[in-house]
Amino acid sequence: MMLNRKDILGLKDLTVEEINLILDTADGFRDIATRKRKKVPALQGHTVVNLFYEKSTRTRTSFEIAAKRLSADTVNFTASESSVGKGETFIDTVRNIEAMHPDVIVVRHGSAGAPHMLSKMIKPGVINAGDGAHEHPSQALLDMLMIRDERGGFEGLEVAIIGDIAHSRVARSNIYGLQRMGAKVRIAGPATMIPIGIEKLGVTVAPSVEDAIAGVDVIMMLRIQLERQSQVLFSSMREYSRQFGLNAKRLELARKDAIIMHPGPMNRGVEIDPFVADCQRSRILNQVTNGVAIRMALLYLVTGGGN
């Protein structure tokens, strides 16, 4: 089976079959990481450009390692958005890169919709590595792989996502993906961080973090930033931690075998208690490991792999 699309822009438009294909492909790639020679020739002769307009260590490294394990040639292009206004437009930059015939462009951009605009204008495949507060498909897919590993599937699972939903692309992609696969999603956070109309995406907005966590299979904590641009969304880190942070006491409300996830980078002691972050039920580092496998699968599939 193969993927009939050149781009991975978001979870919103992926079908159940496509998600399963990506997860299965990633599953198959996983053992490469444990081999002595961590390399397969699948993408030999392919060029992958990592075009990052926002600071990112984890995601960019993960994509780079994924491409290299598949034997692709990788180029990292880090552009600062501030210089964009002065010189070249985003489109011109991308067209210049396109002229060098890459096969895939992995793009991270602060503007929601930037990868979508790009995908319509260029021939190479586009993988969205995070666009504004919109989507972060590879993150959601690696989260889903983690959950599938733990629970064997998604049907009937209860997942709580807690934090700044309004500004979270991770939340949106997970909401689309998990619900498409049959899980139920509850969200919680300060009222200032719950965007208007979010329930239209199918989620339940819990009145408190306790309500959100009660009886769930998965707790997904989001990184918190109290100030966005000039807006102040919450009083203090301390207050946030008291009202919305995940601690041992709140963890008890979840199912006994519930797992804890966090897309990183963590603010230890704010949204998550330092001890809880490292406890047995935490899967935070496993997520990172899965990330490489998911990104290998995405690169492989958008370049026609599986055909």
């Binding site: 437009t89 929601a112 507060a133 109309g197």
Partner: protein, 425 residues
């Protein structure tokens, strides 16, 4: 020079006229209106065949951005007026956010000098505050003497209520209207579109309806306090309409306008980040749109105005949150309004009123009428003839429109300014 417009159906809301009439134009003015065939030219002058057409007063757009001086790459007074007459408009009121800003009589004078070469009449609007900064009141008196017909900081909201009160008091004394862009800048902040389920889905910051409603309510109360004629520009939310309705029942000197795009599109039209659907105030929900149409029909909304805002592709073919706000509208306004008439949501009489005499009265302009003795500004269009709004036919210098390639009704056949045909379609 005499011109006879013969065989058309005349609609002139300024005198409640609707029916088959011929119109005689003598020189620059309307000379006679009579039953079909009654007026004879006796070989002198020409006849315009208006059979199958509506003959209306030339349209009046009380809200355009002509970008000159300062942004001639986007539009000039000349190109903007070309677009205007192609859309049936014969009078435009242009906003002050040029460069330099029209906050003094020298700039007003420059605009009026350029306007002499325009295809249609151009009436400048002066800034309320110096440099549109919302800090210091501009010299409104000298601008009035130079020829502005109203004051506005359009594009920005005077956030200081005390300053707004002083502006209203001084404008009232000058007997001039103040046109307000009502959006609380703190609430609208960095919002890119209407705040709602669609902005949540797209991950874009929202401009909530309450940002507009708060400023509409503030300015209504200040109109009551000062007696100033306050005109709310581009109303977009159902909540604002409730406030304006209240103001009108209290007989306060408050009027408002709506744009064709707010009557036609909703936030859903942004779809896959279409920057040609980005403007301020933003396209709102389907419920808001429905309320706007109803309010236009019942007269709560006085006028239709385009907020014609040309931007080049450098500001539109970019990331959504970096793209400029605004779209062009002069060449689609009549057609989009006629769509509502076709859908029977609006009478043709009311539609033409909102595009002619209503905005003319708000600005105190002696246009937008076919009364005998008045300037012969005429718009002749064929309601059942459609056209496709292709990029090639756009006369504006900029092509930032969400209606490109739409098939639209009501092709303009002739536009006349002061008795002279300035556009033939």
């Amino acid at each position: 020079m005499k011109t006879l417009i013969a065989g058309g159906k005349v609609i002139d809301p300024s005198q409640g006229l609707e029916g088959d009439f011929d119109i005689l134009i003598d020189g620059k003015v309307i000379a006679k209106i009579d039953k079909p065939g009654k007026i004879k030219l006796d070989g002198k002058g020409k006849t315009i065949d208006a059979r199958g057409c509506i003959v209306a007063p030339g349209l009046v757009d009380m809200h355009v951005h002509l970008r000159e001086p300062g942004y001639e790459g986007k539009e000039t007074i000349a190109t903007g007026s070309e677009a205007a007459v192609a859309g049936g408009f014969t009078s435009l009121a242009c906003m002050a956010n040029t460069n330099p800003i029209n906050d003094k009589q020298t700039v007003t004078g420059y605009i009026l000098a350029k306007a002499r070469e325009a295809r249609c009449k151009v009436f400048p609007i002066g800034a309320c505050t110096v440099a549109l900064e919302g800090l210091k009141i501009a010299d409104m008196g000298e601008m009035k003497e130079a020829g502005v017909v109203g004051f506005s900081d359009d594009g920005k909201t005077v956030m200081n209520a005390e300053l707004q009160r002083r502006i209203f008091e001084l404008a009232q004394q000058l007997n001039m209207p103040v046109l307000v862009h009502a959006e609380d800048e703190h609430l609208a902040a960095d919002g890119q579109m209407h705040e709602g389920a669609v902005s949540t889905e797209l991950g874009l910051d929202g401009r909530p309806a309450v940002a507009e409603e708060i400023m509409v309510s503030r300015d209504i109360m200040l109109a009551r306090t000062t007696g100033c004629r306050v005109h709310i520009q581009h109303v977009s939310s159902a909540g604002s309409l409730e406030l304006i309705r209240w103001a009108k029942t209290k007989k306060l000197p408050v009027t408002c306008e709506v744009t064709p795009h707010h009557l036609t599109l909703t936030d859903e039209n942004i779809g896959d980040y279409d920057t040609n659907c980005k403007m301020a105030p933003p396209l709102r929900s389907a419920e808001d749109r429905k309320a706007l149409i109803k309010a236009l029909a019942d007269g709560t909304i006085d006028a239709i105005a385009t907020d014609h805002a040309p931007h080049g592709i450098l500001l539109k073919m970019i990331e959504f949150d970096k793209a400029a706000f605004g779209i062009i509208g002069l060449e689609t306004a009549l057609a989009l309004t006629l769509r509502l008439v076709d859908e029977t949501k609006l009478t043709l009489m009311r539609a033409i009123e909102a595009l002619t005499v209503a905005p003319a009265r708000i600005l105190g302009l002696d246009v937008g009428t076919l009364q005998v003795g008045k300037a012969a500004d005429v718009c002749i269009f064929q309601p059942d003839k459609t056209f496709v709004y292709t990029p090639e036919r756009i006369r504006s210098k900029s092509k930032n429109s969400p209606f490109i390639n739409w098939e639209l009704p009501g092709a303009v056949r002739y536009t006349m300014v002061d008795g002279k045909v300035v556009y033939t379609g």
